[in-house]
């Protein structure tokens, strides 16, 4: 693991700026959070192609749909809770129903959002977006995966949601990395159990896996950035190989990546899936690491959960 730390939202902002230089059809929209989502980088460079609709997330979606009707490729961003929550019905009915070519980016997802508290920590967005037909859902692991995903999203037609985080997190990949929709990657090989997770919280999985190595427990760690479509082949491989799956996400255990994996395995290869995520509770103010500890998402908690379940295996 490298020492460099950068937020996935930075990857979004930097990629959007670069994409804007390469493709004049790309436009960007925000709802008064451009400085936070980092879409302001695009806005400064291309003011004529940047639309800040103000504090109005439904209008953000509707305006993006209109722009896509004229052949533009709109990237619309806000905090995850506002774009997916306030914008939900327009996202479903005005955007996704007709599969318009609008790309959504929700920053400040998960407990990782920290001190702002429960109102700003979106722990339902994967669930909300995943159930919409035509919608694709991506949560990048790091800065470079976010960067690459932005370019990939611009090449593929239809609505997509990119889940981003505020806090700086480890950089795993480099500028040569290419994100592929529907494909995961193995961050660590292992044979006793599998952790399949998404987003920067996988740092905790890797720390837990290292700690478990010292106890002669071998855990594989999979980065499932493409949540929908899910990399079913890899999930099946893991189920066959280790027979014990732990999902990991900074998101509610209801409806997110863990649910998606469980739904898939229950009908293809029934396998124990332990969902590690935010319990069915709201978050609260605190430092990201404090919150992850309290809600059972830090490396130590992950390690304990794995040990406990291995004993029962």
């Amino acid at each position: 693991m490298e020492n460099e730390r950068k937020a996935t939202r930075e990857g979004y902002g930097d990629a959007l700026l670069e994409l804007g230089k390469q493709n004049k059809n790309v436009v960007a929209l925000d709802a008064d959070l451009a400085k936070s989502t980092k879409s302001n980088k695009f806005g400064k460079q291309f003011p004529e192609r940047f639309f800040d609709v103000g504090i109005a997330e439904q209008d953000l979606i509707g305006t993006s749909v209109g722009l896509s009707i004229t052949g533009k490729i709109p990237f619309a961003s806000s905090f995850a809770i506002f774009i997916c929550g306030r914008g939900y019905e327009p996202i479903r009915n005005a955007l996704s129903y007709s599969s318009f070519n609008v790309k959504l980016a929700g920053s400040h997802s998960g407990l990782m959002t920290g001190e702002d508290g429960a109102t700003h920590q979106c722990i339902e967005d994967i669930s909300l977006m995943r159930v919409i037909p035509t919608m694709k859902v991506i949560q990048p692991l790091d800065y470079w995966e976010a960067y690459s995903a932005v370019f990939k999203m611009s090449e593929l037609n239809g609505p997509m949601y990119l889940r981003l985080c505020r806090e700086k997190s480890p950089v795993f990949f480099d500028s040569n990395y290419e994100f592929e929709l529907g494909k995961s990657n193995i961050l660590m090989e292992g044979k006793d159990a599998s952790i399949i997770g998404c987003g920067p919280i996988l740092e905790n999985a890797l720390i837990a896996a290292e700690l478990l190595k010292e106890k002669n427990i071998s855990v594989e760690v999979i980065n499932m950035a493409s949540i929908k479509p899910l990399d079913e082949k890899q999930v099946l491989n893991s189920a066959n190989k280790t027979g014990l799956i732990f999902s990991l996400e900074d998101h509610s255990i209801l409806g997110g990546l863990g649910s998606s994996i469980s739904e898939f395995l229950s009908s293809t290869k029934p396998t124990k899936v332990v969902r590690i995520g935010v319990p069915d509770l709201f978050g609260e103010s605190g430092k990201p690491k404090e919150l992850w500890h309290k809600y059972g998402l830090d490396a130590e908690s992950i390690m304990k959960t794995i040990e406990l379940n291995l004993k029962e295996k």
């Binding site: 509707g62 209109g66 019905e89």
Partner: protein, 279 residues
């Protein structure tokens, strides 16, 4: 060549007859609001709007968004009469495998720009279209038709601020002001008037007219087209269920299909109305 008023009136009558037959055949649909919007739609499709039914994606076209999507039976009838598809297809309305969905679906039917029905989306979408065309230096107009009850949706006012912020002078909005919504009178549930003053306060030009009078409608649209800086709203006073005596101003005719007896009576009234316009 532009149609004369009598020809437009005959088209409006044909549209209403089609709507009645479509909703009767489907035994579901929205007659009241379709009838109150009919003259606005006919003014657009047969007098004011540039489009090519054979080339629905023509980039220079004027765009039209039916934000009050439940009135789509009237839009479908206009589209069929304008040549987008055959009049026979109208009878598939609201039935399985039809392109004529209960609320308009852009992916199903060429010529439908956006999917609407859930109220409140249309103005934002129209703003986006107008902004996109401005970027491409396309000078055509974008029209949007909203209901008066629909103005209770907050999203409309989010969008209204955006239209004026960006000086979308090529955007022309209609409000179908029939003062009825599903649960009763708009003025008794949540008053939306003074509509013109509200839009003016939001930075728009506002015009008012009788929404069933073609001369007034067309003159208002042509005036709106001259706007140099502001978007324009045309607030159209209308009658829900217009031209069928027992449906006029009855909110219960919002989303109910007629039975055989009601259908026969309504059709008869519309046929008589059509005959009065001459051959």
């Amino acid at each position: 060549m532009l149609l004369k008023e009598t020809e437009l009136k005959k088209l409006a009558n044909k549209v209403r007859i089609h709507v009645l037959k479509m909703v009767f055949s489907a035994q579901s649909g929205h007659i009241g609001g379709a009838f109150s919007s009919t003259e606005m739609l006919v003014s657009l499709y047969f007098h004011e709007m540039n489009f090519n039914p054979k080339k629905p994606d023509w980039s220079e076209r004027d765009h039209f968004i039916l934000s009050k999507g439940h009135a789509c039976a009237a839009q479908y009838a206009c589209m069929a009469l304008a040549g987008y598809f055959s009049e026979n297809e109208l009878m598939t309305f609201r039935k399985l495998n039809s392109r004529l969905q209960g609320h308009p679906a852009a992916h199903d039917l060429p010529g439908i720009e956006a999917s609407n029905g859930p109220l409140g989306f249309g103005l934002s979408i129209a703003n986006g279209i107008a902004l996109g065309k401005r970027l491409d230096k396309i000078n055509s107009f974008t029209f949007v038709l909203m209901g008066d009850g629909e103005l209770q949706e907050g999203m409309i006012w989010e969008a209204a601020m955006n239209s004026s912020q960006h000086k979308l002078n090529k955007l022309i909005a209609f409000v179908d002001w029939n003062n009825l919504q599903i649960d009763g009178k708009v003025s008794e549930i949540k008053e939306v008037s003074p509509i013109s003053k509200k839009f003016e306060a939001f930075g728009w030009n506002a015009l008012e007219c009788n929404g069933h009078d073609f001369n007034e409608l067309i003159s208002a649209i042509q005036k709106a087209k001259q706007s140099k800086e502001k978007p324009t709203v045309i607030v159209c006073k209308t009658i829900k269920g217009k031209d069928v005596s027992f449906m006029e101003n009855q909110c219960d005719w919002h989303g109910v299909a007629p039975n055989q007896e009601q259908f026969d009576k309504a059709l008869n009234e519309l046929i008589i109305k059509g005959e009065s316009l001459g051959k």
